[in-house]
Amino acid sequence: MHEQQTATAEVPEVKNPVESLLRMDRMPHIWCPGCGIGTTVNCFARALEQSKVDLDKTAIVSGIGCTGRVAGYLNLDSFHTTHGRAIPFATGLKLANPDLKIVVYSGDGDLFAIGGNHFIHAARRNVDMTVICVNNLIYGMTGGQVAPTTPVTAKGTTYPYGSYDPPFNLPFLADSSGAVYVARWTVYHVHHVTKAIKEAILHRGFSFVEIISPCPTLYSRRNRLGDGLDQMKFYQENSEIRHGANTKDVDIDFQKKIIVGKFVERERKTYRQLMNEHLTSVFGEQYTKYEG
């Protein structure tokens, strides 16, 4: 109703391409001004489109958090589960219907604090799914507590004098647990993010895309880093693309250089492949896969 058409009159009505993937009846979304989560959704939408997967057979699973709300805004079969449990839910979904494409889309706290065990186990098993982590280095939804990704010295409400709790190096953890595709980008890298998500979705097995993202309301404000745009510019200036970097070397320090790139890309049989091959070798014809 307040729609303001800046474009000239003769312009054909072209829809924002992300809209077909959104539940427009749920807009506006809850995210703050300058929050990076919405931008990742743009990238995700394009990646999904480019990957040509069947959208009716694509499910998205989120945990709880600001990022956890992504599932609810996407016009796909979508699940807003419990805090930290998106991955085991997705494991059930995938194993019960192998035809589905499964994307887990959640926050750094959700996936790596309370959910850390599920992450490493699903990676170990190589369950075929893509995990997208919007890493804003903080707990957004609950109001800015430190996450296991918060850089040392950065402030969160639970470490108000600055954190002294050393964070995970997520790509290294993913790598050591067995993920077959591991990439990190920042929200500034919209094209790279899009490409990485597309590659991750098309790469069979457990793939992981970490997206460093601004949380202006909580992380940036408390740490006097300006607004979302300031963080975006920081990413622009301080990211170093280093494809194939040893995941050991990609730690993130407070407001220091961020190594981004595609770090791991390898082939491993998925849990389901292993299962089917093994049980076929044991039972031959008798083995009854499910029709799922």
Binding site: Q4, T6, T8, V14, I37, T39, L229
Partner: protein
């Protein structure tokens, strides 16, 4: 130089004035206007219509799905 002519559609209501679009438009076609929307945010507008290539980057950046750019005609 410029091969195509583009433009943007802005949903002023959805905009939260983050200026991502303005900052990362490769041709500098946008600026934050002086008008506020109902929520009190300054919204972007095209400075110069001819600068826009319709590359769509503004829409890719916009976290609020409030803007998108597209090509309206080829310029020979």
């Amino acid at each position: 130089m410029k091969k195509v002519q583009g433009t943007v559609v802005i949903k002023a209501d959805s905009c939260k004035g983050c200026a991502f679009c303005v900052e990362f438009c490769p041709t500098g076609a946008l600026h934050l206007s002086d008008s506020y929307n109902a929520k009190g945010y300054r919204i972007p507008e095209l400075i110069d219509e001819t600068k826009c290539t319709g590359c769509g980057l503004c829409g890719l950046f916009c976290p609020d799905f409030a803007i998108h750019g597209f090509i309206i005609k080829k310029v020979a």
